[in-house]
Assembly symmetry: C3
Homo-oligomer: 157 residues x 3
């Protein structure tokens, strides 16, 4: 079976996260096995939106505080203007009845898209498992490469 | 036939747009069927440079005004300094006789590269068909995935 | 042989450079032939860290001075805050015993990852061969496309 689709989600921007999930859910709806591998800033998409108490080093706390907590807090990659651009985009999408990022994430889960958080990036940014949403897997680059090797469609977003 | 090349052009930066068209025209020149799927900020590359009168909501007008109108107005992804960096890069390229983005776009059309604008992104950003250049197609993620499925080379830029 | 892995390294950000080399060295360690094609800002990753005397036009000198000289000088793509973010990330990685970018580059060389600098981008940014590290190759988009054509895994980072 070499017909999977695998997407590395490196970016934590709302617009790129949306693009990732639109491709992933589209491919899954067409019957493909899809794996999304979340790394670096992409991990923020998987963060729980509520505060999680953890014991961390000072530096890890700094990253934790400065990075957005979950899909509702993401900025957009252009014209964000301190979050205003993201608000505008979400407002417009709601008006036009376009699926929001949290809805796309739910659809991905319903379609059995495999969601993997990159352990090494979690280590770099000091993110713990308790801070990420449930129902995901944890793995490293070897797992990513094994999935990619079985995939016809490979993207880095 | 599974030997196509398909590029998602998500970015609307001059440098990334150039990279997209250099790969696309290179592959087409080598005899490949090439599809470029323009989504989100990438749509700005396809905008006509003159103003097009449209009736839009206030929010859609905002996006229209703030986004660059066509290849000559794009910034670069690093060191843009309010457009100065893009000017510098274009000046240097002209001096050195390197193809400009508008020339690359023309070459792509001459080589029958298929240029598709993403309908959903047009909807999100409030961009209408009249605002985009002629000779392109309009489609959604299903069309992208069908092209990608027939492609050996898939990139997201 | 169509089982290679080819990565276009367009970005010159520390975090994306690390992601590129982690994928490249991982794939090479699994026995794949890997090619990394460095273009635009990605060329900065290959710059020698010491100053190299060259005779250049004023514009080329401007780019030379403004762009980071080698892997130790790169910023990160988010929350860089004038280099502070990159320093934080490097500090944290050292504390946690995670390979640094210079170490990953060395590993890539040891594993015979093919490192190619894009001639056209060097021309655009005015970068000369003497300014780049030893042991790399120089080529254009045709070479990239030939490698990509033999690759199952193609990424643009």
């Amino acid at each position: 079976m070499e017909d999977k689709s695998t997407i590395v989600v490196f970016s934590g921007d709302l617009d790129k996260a949306m693009a990732s999930f639109i491709v992933a859910t589209g491919a899954a709806a067409m019957g493909k096995e899809v794996t999304m591998f979340f790394t670096f800033w992409g991990l923020n998409i998987l963060r729980k939106d509520q505060y999680v108490k953890t014991s961390k080093s000072f530096m890890d706390k700094m990253f934790e505080k400065m990075m957005p907590r979950g899909p509702e807090k993401l900025g957009i990659s252009k014209m964000n203007f301190g979050g205003l651009g993201a608000k505008m985009m979400k407002y417009v999408m709601q008006k036009k009845n376009i699926s929001t990022l949290p809805e796309l994430i739910q659809t991905a889960k319903d379609l059995d898209v495999k969601i993997i958080a990159c352990r090494m990036s979690m280590d770099v940014l000091g993110i713990t498992e308790e801070e990420l949403v449930d129902g995901i897997e944890y793995a490293g680059v070897a797992t990513y490469l094994a999935e990619a090797d079985q995939s016809k469609l490979n993207l880095f977003i």
